[in-house]
C-alpha cells in the first residue's frame, strides 16, 4: 500500500525515512526525494513560502497519483508526504520515497511521482521576499519534465 499524507504541520524527513525503511525490509533499494524551502542570502531570498491546497481535490489527486505510480512499477512501498500552509527556509515541503527490489524501479517511481506532484497536483504556491508576496506560476521545465513519461 502507499502512505500518502497532506500535512498542515512540519514533519521530520529523517524520521519518516527511518520508519519507511524499517517497514520495507525486503526492498533492496529505496530512492527518496526531499524538497525543502531554499535558504539563500541576498535581496531575492525567500523569507516564507505558502502552499494552498483545495480540500476537495488535492489529497484525492495525490492518492490517485500514488495508485498510478504503484501500478506502473514493481514497488514494495511508496511514501508521499506534501505540506501545505506557510513554511520557512529549511522547512521540508515534500518527501517522496519508493522502495523496490530493483533499483531502476525505485528511481523511476520517485522521479515520476515528483514530476506529477510538481506540475499536476492541486497546489498553489506563493513566495515572500523583501518585495512582498508573489504567486508562482508553473515553470516551462515542469511541463517538459512531465512530457518524459
Amino acid at each position: 500500500m502507499a502512505d500518502v499524507r497532506l500535512l498542515g504541520e512540519g514533519f521530520s524527513p529523517p524520521e519518516e525515512m527511518a520508519a519507511f525503511t524499517a517497514a520495507h525490509p525486503a526492498a533492496g533499494g529505496i530512492v527518496s526525494f526531499l524538497g525543502q524551502v531554499r535558504a539563500e542570502p541576498g535581496p531575492h531570498a525567500v523569507e516564507a513560502l505558502e502552499l494552498k491546497h483545495y480540500a476537495a481535490m488535492t489529497l484525492p489527486g495525490m492518492e490517485a497519483l500514488a495508485a498510478a505510480t504503484r501500478a506502473r512499477w514493481a514497488l514494495d512501498g511508496l511514501l508521499i508526504i506534501h505540506r501545505y500552509g506557510v513554511m520557512h527556509p529549511g522547512d521540508p515541503i515534500v518527501l517522496v520515497a519508493a522502495a523496490a527490489r530493483h533499483r531502476r524501479d525505485a528511481f523511476a517511481a520517485a522521479d515520476f511521482a515528483m514530476d506529477h506532484l510538481k506540475s499536476q497536483s492541486w497546489f498553489w504556491k506563493r513566495e515572500k521576499t523583501a518585495a512582498g508576496w508573489r504567486w508562482i506560476e508553473p515553470r516551462p521545465d515542469d511541463h517538459r519534465d512531465l512530457a518524459r513519461w
Binding site: 494552498k52 515534500v94 498553489w124 504556491k125 504567486w135
Partner: protein, 79 residues
C-alpha cells in the same frame, strides 16, 4: 440553500475572499452578480473549473444546484 464558489491560488487574492455563497442557477447568470472584470478573469482560458471536486471539461455547461461547490483553479505550482 445557496451554492458556493471557491477561488484558489491568486484568484483568492483577486476576488478578495476564498469562498463566496451565490444563488444557484446557470453559471452565466451567477457570474453577472460579480464584478465584470472579475468574471472575465474567472473565465480565462488558463483557469479550470471543478464541480464538487470533479474537474469539468471546457465545454461543459454549468448549472449550479443548491449546495453545489464550484471551484476556479488557476495553473498549479506545487512542490
Amino acid at each position: 440553500m445557496p451554492a458556493k464558489l471557491v477561488f484558489l491560488g491568486r484568484l483568492e487574492d483577486i476576488v478578495g475572499t476564498g469562498e463566496l455563497a451565490v444563488t444557484p442557477g446557470p453559471l452565466e447568470q451567477v457570474l453577472t452578480t460579480l464584478d465584470p472584470a472579475l468574471a472575465v478573469e474567472l473565465l480565462g482560458e488558463r483557469v479550470r473549473m471543478a464541480l464538487n471536486g470533479a474537474l469539468l471539461g471546457d465545454s461543459d455547461a454549468v448549472v449550479l444546484a443548491e449546495g453545489d461547490e464550484l471551484a476556479f483553479l488557476p495553473p498549479v505550482s506545487g512542490g
